[in-house]
Symmetry: C2
């Protein structure tokens, strides 16, 4: 298998693990970057929102600071892929719902995984970043209290994230899961809402979804997941 | 990535695809065998139960016939992995429920994917094989009418299959999904029940679950899956 495979979405961990508070990092950033150069994720303790572009990992923290993450830092959950130069489509004056519909139209089906990237100018950008949790970790629902929201207007930047089919809810956040980083690297986070003034959107479909689980982590091994509750909590926390 | 990776479970298709009747094969047996030498699956049209051992694919058909499948035949759904020589544990005089508990104890967690193989003598073996469906395909629930059940006593043979966590219901059949093939290759199928007189069980845990989807298949692209209904139907059909 080609390591530079552009048809594979790699994921470490499941979103379900975060729900009961399995927030400790279980893969190093160096190991994560062996599977892709572009993606999103979070650090140990749910410390901020990660955006990976061109093999560089940026952390957007709850205090609003943005920094480059080192290879030894650990992630409990992240997605990466190798970016392929896909044709782009111009979108102008769309709100977040219209954007999602346009992206889904381009993917052409609700049943596959795809990367979604946008480079453009946003009339309005609304994000959040979760603050670092310490052990013993709280549940995902409880971390909402530690999140900070950010708002910007007339901001240039890049969106990176994924569309995932409904069937994989719990393993992933179903639908769109997108992060933002401004061009000047001073504003970003997990996208809650935006209005796009003008931008180029690119879709990269994947035929492979490669899931990697921390099978030697004792907390993960011992956890009794309630799948229905997990999915309900993810919908609440991620949207 | 090493093609002979023994820590990866490969899956083509999702079980969810079978529920509304997406039963056409979308991967050749030759391509499937590029990802493992051991596994289970079904052929185009849900034609029988497949068992893959040592790179040989056996079809156990609804008429009771067992034959070797050729490289050009197509599968809509299958799992394979590269078998690793794992230590075995002896089990004697266990029914199917006791067997499942013993296997789960050996896996040591309900949260990871693992291959389960048994070589032994079965006091009783109860299997089924689904009969070939033709296009336009019926739903998975309707194929139950076309399945035949088989019973044997005092039979030697091999069990191959997987344990999958509950979280992946719909993508896979959660819990144990096991097929049987007798040593003399005259009886087998999807296991419904058994009693093991004496056998050696081996567990192979996987840290990677690699899912491959038929992203260019138009029927798959167009389908609107109802995740809740899919999971309910799978529980009914597979257990």
């Amino acid at each position: 298998m080609n390591k530079m495979n552009t048809e594979t979405l790699y994921q470490h961990g499941t979103l379900a693990m975060l729900v009961p508070g399995l927030l400790a990092g279980t893969l190093s950033v160096a190991d994560l970057l062996k599977h892709g150069d572009t993606g999103i994720g979070t650090l140990s303790g749910l410390n901020g929102e990660l955006m990976i572009i061109g093999g560089v990992v940026y952390q957007m923290a709850a205090d609003g600071q943005i920094r480059v993450v080192g290879p030894k830092e650990m992630v409990p959950f992240a997605n990466v892929h190798y970016a392929k130069q896909e044709p782009t489509t111009k979108l102008t004056n769309v709100d977040y719902a219209q954007f999602q519909q346009a992206a889904l139209d381009q993917i052409g089906t609700e049943n596959i995984f795809a990367a979604v990237t946008v480079t453009g100018k946003f009339t309005r950008m609304h994000t959040r970043a979760v603050g670092e949790q310490v052990s013993p970790y709280p549940t995902l629902a409880a971390t909402a209290e530690a999140q900070q929201e950010f708002n910007a207007t007339a901001i240039d930047g890049q969106v990176v994230g994924y569309f995932s089919p409904e069937l994989y809810a719990g393993v992933v956040s179903p639908g769109f899961h997108l992060h933002f980083l401004s061009s000047d690297h001073v504003m970003g986070g997990h996208i809650l809402d935006f209005e796009l003034e003008s931008g180029e959107i690119a879709i990269q479909p994947f035929q492979n979804f490669d899931l990697h689980l921390p099978i030697d982590n004792n907390d993960f091994r011992r956890e009794h997941f309630n799948s229905r509750q997990v999915i309900a909590d993810i919908r609440k926390a991620e949207h």
